[in-house]
Amino acid sequence: MFAEYTASELTSIFAMQGFAGLILFSVFVLMALGLAIIFGQMGVINMAHGEFMILGAYVTYLVSHLFADYMPESLYNSYFLIAMVLAFFVAGALGAFVEWAMIRHLYKRPLDTLLATWGLSLIMQQTYRTVFGAREVGVVLPDWLMGSVQLTDMIEIPINGIFVMILTVVITIGVAIMMQRSRLGKQTRAVVQNRPMAAAVGINTEKVDRLTFALGCGIAGIAGSAFTMIGSTGPTSGQLYIVDTFLVVVFGGAASLLGTVASAFTISQAQSTMEFFLSGSMAKVLTLLTVVGILMLRPEGLFTLKIRR
């Protein structure tokens, strides 16, 4: 399949597809981060995670409009930062509410939580359709995110992509530090290891559950903010990413942040590069087969802690 391209063409194809893959990687990482935190903490697979992401995207869309309509034009450039923070808190608050109203009653019933969060995803989609309409909406990028960097005459890299990537790196590192150092992080890890024992040393496990769920959803909200930079937002846009994100989490091993990042990288790069040469669905099939193959060899995912249990 490479025969009809020259060597230099191939280089630039790989470079540009590779870069497109990096943007996909960013969305995957942010989505998977939240999903993995929630799954690791309480064994809940949040089928509505994509909708939480889209909530963040809609928040960003709203904020950009508020800025465009009511703020002086000079401020428009900074709308994104505010939107991002707001997206985190709105998605997080909804997450905390959902945990309180629904999830906590369904712990230890994995099938029920799967169904319940799936139902929730449908409700959220319908709400978006009612509120924002079925048509996709987009934001107008501020000037500083427009344009691209010309690397060679055949390779150019969009600035918004670079921005989203940097953002992802910063957030991932932030979450990693939080899980390692902060009190909530330590409590979360204790609960993950042994829930009854964590309670018996004085940890309020229900509070930790709620905060973790909120955090996971909040990160999805940020992912949604980033998502507006690279795609348009519709009621069902979240659905496109949820399956891939599951793949990333399972492949990486839910317990390991590094694993999540590595697996998001592998999967996004594989898909993006193959998509250029094969059809999109063929690329998906190949990725899926590879992942299944590797999981047969390493059932716990790519990365596991070496420790006596």
């Binding site: 009190r183 330590k186 409590q187 890890r189 290891q193 009854p196 004085g202 309020n204 420790i307 249990r309």
Partner: protein, 229 residues
């Protein structure tokens, strides 16, 4: 201090602890002896709220514990060292102790904890799962002490630990009691350790207290009979 009255615990239909009455006085160490399966762990776990009780009451300094959740009992002053230690194996020694600080709101581990267990200071940054059994036991005790309990519950702390270290543990427990002025309830199968550490010896048989004597009056022969099959 800790007052257990008409207390019962059951798994479904099978009652394991039936109408138990037991008092733990301030500054006292009691040892609850009993063979395998006599309900020691069940009693301990229910006191910390890991398994629900069926009836009766448990009060600590006149505060009723039975309606409280585990973390609330810890805040009320109960510390728990479970059988099998159950430390958080992927977390470091330091982090393990820090989990115990939760109910106190403190951020820094008090230095006297490391003075009690110098090994833990040396191994601060090792993962808990990579410590030896004896070191893990010390870690589990330090973690429980971090929450500044007024009653410390230890479930078979000598299990799988060599005799010389068992002796040292008895000394450490007494030291903790003297330094911190707390009360300790320890469940045991090793009679020598119980005689060494406790002020009062109790024997539990099928969920009932069948013997309760001060250690000075404890007759080894009688107690051994309870412990042999």
């Amino acid at each position: 201090m800790l007052q257990i009255s008409d207390y019962s615990v059951a798994y479904g239909q099978s009652t394991i602890i039936g109408d138990m009455n037991l008092t733990l006085n301030p500054n006292e160490i009691i040892a609850v002896l009993g063979r395998n399966g006599m309900g020691k762990t069940t009693l301990m776990k229910s006191l910390i709220g890991m398994i629900p009780s069926q009836g009766g009451s448990v009060t600590l300094k006149n505060k009723e514990l039975t309606p409280l959740k585990s973390f609330e009992r810890v805040a009320a002053g109960v510390g728990f060292v479970p059988q099998g230690r159950m430390i958080f194996s992927t977390m470091t020694v330091k982090e393990n102790i820090e989990t115990g600080l939760t109910s106190t709101g403190k951020k820094v581990i008090p230095s006297d904890l490391y003075e009690l267990f110098p090994v833990l200071d040396e191994m601060k940054d090792r993962r808990g799962g990579n410590l030896s059994g004896g070191q893990q036991q010390q870690l589990a005790i330090a973690r429980a002490l971090a929450s500044e309990p007024s009653v410390l519950l230890l479930d078979e702390p000598t299990e799988g630990i060599q005799p010389s270290i068992i002796k040292e543990m008895a000394r450490t427990l007494k030291k903790i009691r003297d330094k911190r002025g707390l009360s300790i309830m320890v469940s045991e199968q090793v009679l020598s350790f119980a005689l060494d550490v406790a002020d009062r010896i109790l024997v539990i048989e099928k969920g009932k207290i069948v013997l309760d004597v001060p250690v000075a009056e404890a007759d080894q022969e009688t107690i051994s009979k309870y412990l042999s099959v």
